[in-house]
Symmetry: C2
Subunit: 385 residues, 2 copies
DNA sequence: CCGGCCGACGTAAACGTTTTCTTCCGTTCA
DNA sequence: TGAACGGAAGAAAACGTTTACGTCGGCCGG
C-alpha cells in the first residue's frame, strides 16, 4: 500500500497526496479532506526511506553516549527521545563504552544512516573521529567544551550556578574544610566543574587544601577509592563534593565500610541528580543538570544549524492523529542557544559539620556523649540538633 | 558521492559495484579489487535509504522497553545494540513509560520506519497495539509469554532454574520461612516467577504462608511498601525473595529504616542482577538472567522469522574493514530458539537465619548477647559465626 | 470582451540503490 | 567447425517519495 493507492481512492494525483500530508497550504481544502479520509481508511503511513532518499533528510538524529549503563545517560536518552520524537525525528543511539574503536564504529553507523545531526554526549576526547561529520556537512553538538570546529557547536552548561549553590549551602551549615573529588581531568567538563568549585571556594574566602582535591574517574569504584585516600590523611575535611553522583555513591560506600555516618561525620554532595540519587541511603544531596534542557538544547541546536527553517516541522502523525504534541516550549529562533541550568537539590547527605555536632552533644541536656573518635560506632537513633 | 562515482573510478558499471560490495560471488576478483580500491579511495558509504527502498529491508530493528530509566533496561539495550550492530542492523528504541498511549506512538514510529522486526521487552499488557505488525508481516518477539499470534514468537526464559537455585540456597542455610514479593500479577512474567517460586517451595517440602506472598510493582517504592507490610505482621519470615532487583533494593531501604540488618536479621534475594545490585549496601544476592542471551535470542528469532536465509549476513563494514566481528556464537539454524538461562549470583544479602544466629551467639565463647528483640539496635562490627 | 496572470493540480524527473534481464564472450560438445 | 550453453558484466527497470515544471482554468484589469 503506497501513495498511489491513497491517490486512487481520493481521486487525486500522488502529488496532491504528498502535498496534503506535508501540509503545503495551497491544497484545496475539499481535496485535502478527501485525501485525509483515504489516508485514514487505508491506514496509510508514508515510506520514510523513500522520503529520506528524495528529500535528503533522514529525520534521524544520532546520539552518542559513553556508557548507557551509567544511570545518568538513560535519563538523558529518555528526554532526548521525547525531544526528537515530538519534532518528528528518530534517535539512533550509540554507546562507546569509552573505547575509541567503538566510537569509530558509532560514527560510521551514523554516517551510513545519513543522520541529520549528531549529539555527542560522551564527555570524551576521541573527537577526531567526528571530522567526517563536518566533511559531510552534518552538524553535531558537544556537551564537552571542545575547540570549535566547522559544523559543530557546544552546549553551554552553567556549571558554576549549581556548584556555587552547593558550596554556599555547605558554608552556611558551617563547613570550612571541603574536599572535591573530580572526574578525569582530561575531560574538559570535569575540569570545568573542578574550576567552578575552586572559584566558589575562593569567592567566599576559603582556601583549597591540595590534599583534598582528588582526581576520580566518575565511577562508583573511583569514588570509593578517592574517599579511602581522604580517610587515610591525617586531617579530614568535614564535607565532600563530587563531580558526579556515581562518585558520591562510591563515597557513601567508603564511609559505610569505614563505619562513618552521613551526614553526621561527613556531608556529601553529588552532581547530576541521577534518578538513583533519590534512593541511596541516605538520599543524596546533589546538583541537578536538567536533562530536559540539555536534550532540547541539543535538538534545537542541531536542527537550527542544519536548516534554519526546518524547526517546528509538523509530521503526519501530528496532524492526522494529534499525537505527541510538543509539550515543551521551543526555544525562540532568534536566541536558540540558551545555557543549560544547574541547581542544588538538598536531600539528606548534608548537615552540620562534625565539630558543630560535638558542641551540640556536649551542650545537650540529656546525656553526655562519648569523646569523638575517628571510628565512631553506630548508635543509630538520632542525634538531632 | 555515490555508487556512480565508484563505478567511474573503477571503470565498471554500477551493477558490478553493487555486486562487489554485497559480496556476490560471481564477480571477477580483478574487478572486485578495483572496486574495493575505489571504495576506499573515495571513502564511499552506500546510502542506506536507497538500499532499504529497493531491497525492502530497512535493517532496522525496533526495541520497545517499558522504562529506560529502570536500570535493568539499559543493560539489555546495550547487549541488544551490540547484537544488532554486529549483524549489520540498527536499533530503534522506544520507551513506553507504561503508558498505552506512548506504546501506540512507539508502534507507529516503528511502522513508519519500516522496521524489519520488533522486540517487545515491556513486560506489559498493551499487546493489541501490535496487531498492526502482524498485518504488515513484521515479525516481533515478546519476553512475556503472551498468547501466540501470527508473526510473533515468545522468548523462553527458564525462570525456574534460577529461582530454584535461590530457594535451595536459602534452604541450605536453614531458612524455612521465606516470603516472596512478586511483580504486578497482571504481567505474565511476574506470574511465572511467582509460580516458579511456589513450585520450588513445594518441591522441597515447604508450605507457603499466604501472608508472605505480597504483590509489588517492580519499583523501589513498591518493594519498600511490601516489606513494610511484612514487618507489620505478627510473624516474620527469615528470608525474602523478590521478583526483581529494584524491589529488593526497596526492601533494603525498608529494613534500613526499620533498623534491621541484612543478612543478620533477614536474608534477601533479588532478580535480574542489574548492574547496581553489585553496589548496594550490602551487595545484593540475586538471580541473573543473561541480558546477552536475551538480546541474541531476540535478534536471531526476529531474523530467522523474517528471512530464514538472511542470518549471518555480511555488511560492507565487515568486509571492508573487518570491524565488529560477531564475538558471540550464533545459534544454530536448526534450533534457533534456545531458552534463556538464569542462575543465582551469591553476594552478601543472604546468610544464616536469625534463630540460627541466636544459637550461635548463645553458644559463643566470649560474651553473652542481649535477648533477641524485634528491633535490635545496630551494634556494627561483626558477629561472625 | 479579451488577454494576461495567478493559483492549483497533474505529469514527470530525480533520489541512489538492488535486481532482473539482456548481451556478449568463451568454452565445450557434437 | 559450428551451435548451444554458461558465466560474467552491463543496461535498465523498479522501489515510493518529493518537487520542478507544465498546463489548465478562472479571475481581474484594460
Amino acid at each position: 500500500m503506497d501513495i498511489r493507492d491513497v491517490a486512487a481512492l481520493a481521486r487525486v494525483s500522488i502529488a496532491t497526496v504528498s502535498r496534503t500530508i506535508n501540509h503545503v497550504p495551497t491544497v484545496d481544502p475539499a481535496l485535502a479532506a478527501r485525501v485525509w479520509k483515504a489516508v485514514n481508511e487505508l491506514n496509510y503511513l508514508p515510506n520514510t526511506q523513500a522520503r529520506a532518499l528524495v528529500s535528503g533528510h533522514s529525520r534521524l538524529i544520532g546520539l552518542i553516549v559513553s556508557e548507557i549503563t551509567n544511570p545518568f545517560f538513560p535519563e538523558l536518552i529518555q528526554e532526548f527521545e521525547q525531544a526528537a520524537v515530538s519534532r518528528g525525528y528518530e534517535v539512533l543511539i550509540g554507546s562507546t563504552n569509552y573505547e575509541p574503536k567503538i566510537m569509530e564504529i558509532c560514527a560510521r553507523r551514523m554516517l551510513e544512516r545519513k543522520v541529520d545531526g549528531v549529539a555527542v554526549m560522551t564527555f570524551g576526547v576521541e573527537e577526531f573521529f567526528l571530522d567526517r561529520f563536518a566533511a559531510e556537512g552534518i552538524p553535531y553538538v558537544f556537551i564537552d567544551p571542545a575547540p570549535s570546529r566547522p559544523m559543530s557547536s557546544v552546549l553551554a552548561v552553567d556549571y558554576l550556578a549549581g556548584i556555587s549553590e552547593g558550596v554556599q549551602h555547605l558554608a552556611v551549615l558551617g563547613h570550612r574544610n571541603i574536599a572535591f573529588i573530580s572526574g578525569p581531568l582530561i575531560r574538559r567538563s570535569s575540569l570545568s566543574r573542578k574550576e567552578a568549585f575552586l572559584r566558589c571556594l575562593h569567592s567566599i574566602g576559603l582556601k583549597p587544601n591540595p590534599d583534598w582535591l582528588i582526581e576520580g574517574d566518575h565511577t562508583l569504584d573511583g569514588g570509593r577509592d578517592a574517599m579511602k585516600k581522604i580517610l587515610a590523611l591525617p586531617h579530614w575535611p568535614s564535607a565532600v563534593m563530587c563531580s558526579n553522583d556515581m562518585t558520591a555513591i562510591g563515597v557513601q560506600h567508603a564511609l559505610f565500610d569505614a563505619n562513618l555516618r552521613i551526614p553526621d561525620d561527613f556531608s556529601l554532595i553529588g552532581y547530576d541528580d541521577i534518578h538513583l540519587a533519590e534512593y541511596t541511603i541516605p538520599p543524596l544531596t546533589t546538583i541537578r543538570m536538567s536533562c530536559r534542557d540539555l536534550a532540547i538544547q541539543a535538538m534545537e541546536n542541531l536542527l537550527y544549524h542544519g536548516h534554519p527553517k526546518a524547526r517546528s516541522a509538523q509530521t503526519l502523525n501530528d496532524a492526522a492523529h494529534s499525537a505527541a504534541a510538543p509539550s515543551q516550549p521551543f526555544a525562540k529562533p532568534d536566541e536558540p542557544f540558551a545555557t543549560i541550568s544547574t541547581r542544588l537539590i538538598v536531600r539528606r547527605t548534608t548537615g552540620l559539620p562534625h565539630n558543630a555536632l560535638q558542641d551540640l552533644r556536649q551542650a545537650g541536656p540529656t546525656k553526655k556523649m562519648p569523646p569523638p573518635s575517628r571510628r565512631p560506632s553506630r548508635p543509630r537513633g538520632s542525634i538531632k540538633p
